[in-house]
Symmetry: C2
Subunit: 321 residues, 2 copies
């Protein structure tokens, strides 16, 4: 890489967050922020080359955006609005200045979409593998956080959007599909923006009680929520929102266990079903896909018939719990 | 690596921060923290294999500690007390479970020394290179932050501790010195704990106005401070605290440009010289090494004679500004 750390910091400083609350931004040992009193949500999540993505399938701009999206998704899942972020980038020698600029530009574009302000971070060289690691802080919007530990027996289970899109997009890319970037599924894989507008509606109507984002696949993530809540769940397969193309391609499993959906999974009392309907009427795709029950684990039913869960979603280490 | 992400998260959860302010800790999409009102300092800094260290010279426990120390050092430099941290670890296949445990244990040991609480983070696989990236938040202790932009003309320049120790330790290690880990310099390289007690004294007596930590070398870091403050600095070489062994080995340059000192560099009005003396009398090594002047850049004098600055300290990318 033909660029010095000082130059990088200087370039990055252009993107510095502007806000009355930021007393001191980039350029010092740390950023100073005047914090409001109350509950704030802290997250940190990395996107690592060869583990989470390949540059052959995703350009630097998309990688930068994704690093923001996955963290914003976690903050939103807790019922908080993202406010600030810091970012560490590990840059291998072979990365060009142009690619680094695209990466920065992707980061700042995604941050702009969520109105999140850059506080600083670290730009480091790396020997072989590129990585980007973002930490983010948000302010809780309601009186309580929307955690994985809040699912209650009898509550309904909902999801935003469609499932399996991103995983099917990756499948298409890996299989040499030439439909280009405009393909809905490839677009969702490359550009996994969390459904912010649907989230605003859900929070506005105070619908969710427990919430999380689907990052590793519906079933594995729902299992995690149930474990934290000490409950079980029944999923009605026929109500899971699977795009027609995925059904035609017989890739329905991707909707259960594909991962990288970055849709919201939430539970809510049946009494709020009317509110869900209202949000739906506004044009936001919301599906009611199951119910929280006594017991443990996730059970899958198709039109009343129990189905065997064969694949639980993937873990980055290859092992499945 | 024979260990799953779930297992790692479970092991890590043991170390979860306990505090009344932590409403929800590890186990969800994010941690929820009840923040007090007022200025907080945010930092994020990574330690990357082959760039910042080699496992051949530093064991995993030391690497874990270092990742905490460098971030705590940044927070303290701003005049804030570290409170919380998140940590992302990128673990290559070849790393053993034992090494990962040592790493965790080092992280938590260092966090304990500063009473900093773990909020969460990310455990990811990595293809080739290990990395650890820590984000940390602290609460400003005084009415104003102690930034790099606050040096004032006529103020004196001070440093804590001794300079060049860590760089000389690395030099010894690289040259096959067999004195073992108890050697003062190797110890400082392997275990670069910021001088917390001296910091407390400085802050208690309200001595520093501008402050930063020395991470890339006295001269390059002082240049950065002067640039941010739009001032110049004169350094009196004979007053720079250089250990006798380093002088004997004719490695004085390491005290000016070696880096990784993790001592505090600060400016203060001459009127507080008596307070500096008081802290010194308590047994804390503090040196007054120069003065802030009108103009730009850093000038070096040895007993009144101007010296040429030949090496400015290193940058990780190999280029020097």
């Amino acid at each position: 890489m033909e660029i010095t750390e000082n130059q990088l910091i200087k370039e990055f400083k252009r993107f510095e967050g502007q806000s009355k609350a930021i007393i001191r931004g980039i350029g010092d040992d740390g950023a100073v922020v005047d914090m409001a009193q109350g509950p704030h949500v802290f997250v940190q999540d990395a996107v690592v080359e060869h583990i989470h993505f390949e540059f052959s399938l995703m350009d630097p701009r998309a990688v930068g955006k994704k690093a923001i999206y996955v963290n914003a998704s976690d903050i939103l899942s807790m019922g908080a609005l993202p406010l600030y972020f810091l970012v560490t980038i590990g840059i291998p020698e072979h990365m060009s200045r142009k690619d680094i600029r695209s990466l920065y530009s992707g980061i700042m574009q995604a941050a702009g979409e969520f109105d999140i302000r850059l506080l600083g971070g670290d730009t480091s060289a790396a020997k072989n593998d590129f990585f980007i690691d973002v930490s983010m802080v948000g302010k809780q919007t309601g009186t309580d956080y929307l955690g994985r530990d809040k699912a209650m027996e009898g509550d309904l289970i909902g999801v935003t959007g469609w499932l399996g899109e991103s995983a099917y997009g990756l499948y298409l890319l890996k299989n040499g599909f030439h439909g280009g970037k405009r393909n809905r599924f490839i677009q969702r894989y490359v550009n996994p923006k969390p459904p912010l507008e649907a989230w605003k509606e859900l929070v506005h109507y105070n619908i969710p009680v427990a919430m999380m984002d689907i990052s590793d696949g519906l079933i594995i993530d729902l299992e995690r929520m149930m474990k934290e809540s000490r409950k079980g769940a029944h999923i009605y397969f026929e109500q899971v929102p699977i795009p027609r193309d995925i059904i035609r391609a017989k890739k329905e499993n991707l909707a259960l266990a594909g991962g990288e959906d970055y849709q919201f999974l939430f539970t809510f009392p049946e009494s709020r079903l009317g509110l869900v309907e209202e949000v739906r009427k506004k044009g936001f795709p919301l599906s009611v896909i199951g119910r929280v029950v006594k017991g443990r684990g996730v059970k899958l039913f198709n039109k009343g018939q129990a189905m065997k869960i064969t694949s639980k979603g993937y873990e980055h280490f290859g092992a499945v719990s």
